[in-house]
Amino acid sequence: MPELAQTETTARKPKLDLKMYGPAIALVILCIIGFSLNSAFLSEGNITNLLTRSAFIGIIAVGATFVITSGGIDLSVGSMAAAIAGIMIILMNALVDILGTGVLTVVVGAGCAVLLGALAGLANGLLTTKGKIEAFIVTLGTMGIFRSLVTYFADGGTLSLNFDIRGTYRPVYYDSLLGVPYPVWVFAVVAVAGWLLMNRTTFGRYCTAIGSNEHVAQYSAINVNKIKTWTYVIQGLCVALATVIYVPRLGSASSSTGVLWELEAIAAVIIGGTVLKGGYGRIGGTIFGALILTTIGNILNFTDVVSNYLNGTMQGLIIIIAVWLQRADWGKPKD
């Protein structure tokens, strides 16, 4: 039997691996298409832009991976980002008078954003677990609430960061360390931390267990409500981080900030191979999912071969094909 076991192991691997590398393969194909459309696609500038841009959705999607893996869903992330950005801007503008336009104001603002993110996530989490309301409804509700809060704060218009503080804050988005822009560093750190948390800690294991079968998790001494709540808090923290690097980019927030980010984040997670119903989460895949989505948008900006109106069609087709490429059980007998 030992010999058998071994052949089995090797036999299983390839199938797993294809699923594993599916998102990566899809991304490579996209890059080839991009390059063939316009060789500037692989220019350093474009690659940097692409990565920096992926950072927002990517960071949020890392958080979403935890929520989805443990069987939840969070529709409120886009609105949450807008609300956090708005409050952060109001706060920083107010702080300029007290703390000046130095780093301190930015740090306090960012710290406050992180706190807000955690609180917003906590609210989602507690309503879902203690309130026993379906996550879909809770976060649909908070989505509306967060969005209207930012509209309210901005009086229907736009909240903009004080120009004096922008100079201090701008580098967070636009500057680089070792040739790599800061947002990409943040993305990388979040990705690695997320990966470790998911794959190397009890927490990640518990998320998977809960998403897989809540009863079994409960009988296995897992505090289901606590872990679930934490996933929403992590989601909130990720949203806050994404916001902290988003604000210096555009220096403002309005009711149109972060619209549809929730769909993009969830799409990145699912494209990456995580299962929507929970129980199987892949941070690595999520990263590729986010990159794929950004690349699609980038490629469409590259060419005006197709009518602008048909962008949505191209995007839809590419997403479906990308997932199909990795999902089809190549050669696996159906059973």
Partner: protein, 509 residues
């Protein structure tokens, strides 16, 4: 052992040199045997021998890698996914196969609803279901949701469902594993009725005395090979056990060492009340094996689910090793040294979509982590140890729990709770679906644990098991303790009298 094609054509349903591999892992090797009309044919073998796989092939749920199925004298390819029911071949799966959120009636008629002009005839179905349930002695409404039933009730629903299919071939994969004596009797009555009607019945079980009682012929599988088929009359229980495991088996039950009546009290429960339990009190001593017996639904499970914080307690107090304890979660109970092994291994015990390792360490996961980071080496070592200690047989170490044989799932579950190094172990139905050889190992294992000073509660519906290994047995009836027996009083008559309410309650708290 010579394996050739025995009597391949003289039965109603025959297997002709069936082989099956999952991926590259072979599970069955050229198995042939035949099932005749009007016989009860038992299939026995160790856990993982391939019994369920063979049964699934013979009812179309798996397709064989090679070999033929002969039905009614003709070589056939059975339609997949239960389509063979139309041909009269019905399988009761080893795993419960019911849609939890749906009602009993909806499940029983799932896939073959009765309708008039496209509209379901719910009255007709309900009245038929009421009759079917009466036939199998189930007193539940057809509108009950499956999720509200106990496991035994679910199994009886499965049986009722299969019985209603007008089968020519009825294959039952361990139908009695979750049933008590009384329910088994009802089942056997139905089986005999069907046999008399000329139905060919295949019966898979690890309860050899049942095999002896109900079957006409026995076929033995070992490691995916056909070992032999012979008339049941020619075999006694030891012969069967020997054919299964390929060696002599010594005593099934270990010698019960003298209980230490002065030992420290490990667990003390006074005045426990829950929704279904009334004023329950008992003590468990260090190193004691305490049996819990009683009819299904008498509340045994609920006692311990309440103790572990899984069911709300309305009143009562619990002390462990003299300390007041009230657990709000399984984690607190675990940290206090109490673990509970559920009888519902699919619903509450194992993550079916995960492998052995994840399942093994889940309960005791904090032990495998340093500063929240998992120690994967340690986990791997634990798996290797558990596989050896509990003789878990999976041909592929990466196999998902859902693809393991039923008995091996049970062993994995036992290994899982033992990872927490408990001082008090509560085992609900410890040997459900386990073969004799392994049963023996588990009993010896329990005895050894007790000898080391671990206190053990064994909840079991198998009377001989409770009698064979317990120092003391508490019998429950309708949510209360009906009586306690110890020493020489532990015998079937006493227990049954208490369980049935014939002995008056000698308050024993």
């Amino acid at each position: 052992m010579v394996v050739k094609n025995p009597m391949a054509s003289d039965g109603l349903l025959c297997a002709d040199s069936l082989s099956k591999s999952f991926g590259t892992v072979p599970v069955l090797f050229s198995v042939s045997f035949s099932l005749k009309a009007g016989e009860v044919h038992a299939l026995i073998g160790e856990n993982g021998a391939g019994k369920s796989t063979l049964m699934k092939i013979m009812s179309g749920f798996h397709s064989p890698t090679s070999g033929r199925i002969i039905y009614d004298g003709e070589s056939v390819t059975l339609p997949p996914n239960g389509g063979a029911e139309a041909l009269g071949i019905v399988l009761i799966h080893q795993e419960l196969n019911l849609a939890e959120q749906m009602t009993v009636a909806e499940n029983i008629f799932l896939g073959r609803e009765i309708s008039k002009r496209g509209i379901l005839d719910r009255q007709e179905m309900n009245s038929r279901v009421v009759r079917m349930l009466a036939d199998v002695g189930l007193d539940i409404s057809p509108d009950t949701r499956i999720s509200e039933l106990s496991i035994a009730q679910k199994q009886m629903v499965e049986i009722a469902k299969a019985m209603s299919r007008n089968a020519r071939v009825l294959i039952m994969d361990e139908p009695t594993a979750v049933l008590t004596e009384a329910e088994t009797r009802i089942l056997f009555k139905q089986v005999n009725r069907l046999r008399d009607q000329g139905v060919a019945i295949m019966f898979v079980s690890h309860k050899l005395h049942e095999v002896k009682e109900i079957s006409d012929r026995v076929t033995v599988l070992r490691d995916g090979q056909w070992i032999g088929t012979s008339p049941t009359a020619d075999l006694d229980l030891d012969d069967m056990a020997r054919m299964m495991v390929g060696r002599e088996l010594s005593d099934l039950y270990p010698p019960v060492n003298e209980p230490d009546v002065d030992a420290q009290i490990a667990l003390s429960v006074t005045g426990l009340q829950t929704k279904n339990l009334r004023n329950l009190s008992f003590d468990l001593r260090k190193g004691e094996i305490l049996g819990f017996s009683g009819l299904v639904g008498s509340g045994r499970t609920e006692v311990f689910e309440a103790i572990c914080g899984l069911v709300p307690m309305h009143a009562g107090s619990i002390t462990t090793f003299g300390n007041e304890a009230r657990f709000n979660s399984v984690a607190q109970a675990r940290d206090a040294g109490i673990v509970y092994l559920t009888k519902d291994r699919k619903g509450k015990g194992l993550l079916l979509e995960e492998g052995m390792q994840t399942n093994l360490t889940l309960l005791a996961l904090p032990q495998f982590a340093r500063h929240l980071i998992l120690d994967r080496k340690k986990e791997e070592a634990a798996l290797t140890r558990a596989i050896r200690r509990f003789d878990i047989r999976a041909r592929d170490p990466n196999v998902l729990a859902k693809d393991m044989s039923g008995g091996n799932q049970q062993k994995l579950l036992l290994a899982k709770v033992m990872e927490a190094n408990p001082k008090i172990v509560i085992i609900d139905e410890p040997t459900r679906g386990i073969d004799v050889g392994t049963k023996q190992q588990i009993y010896h294992f329990i005895a050894a644990l007790a000898a080391e000073g671990v206190s053990i509660v064994v909840i079991s519906s198998e009377m001989p098991e409770v009698i064979g290994i317990s120092h003391r047995v508490i019998i429950m009836r309708e949510g209360r303790i009906a009586g306690t027996v110890s020493g020489r009083d532990i015998n079937e008559t006493q227990i049954v009298r208490y369980a049935a309410g014939l002995n008056e309650e000698k308050t024993h708290a």
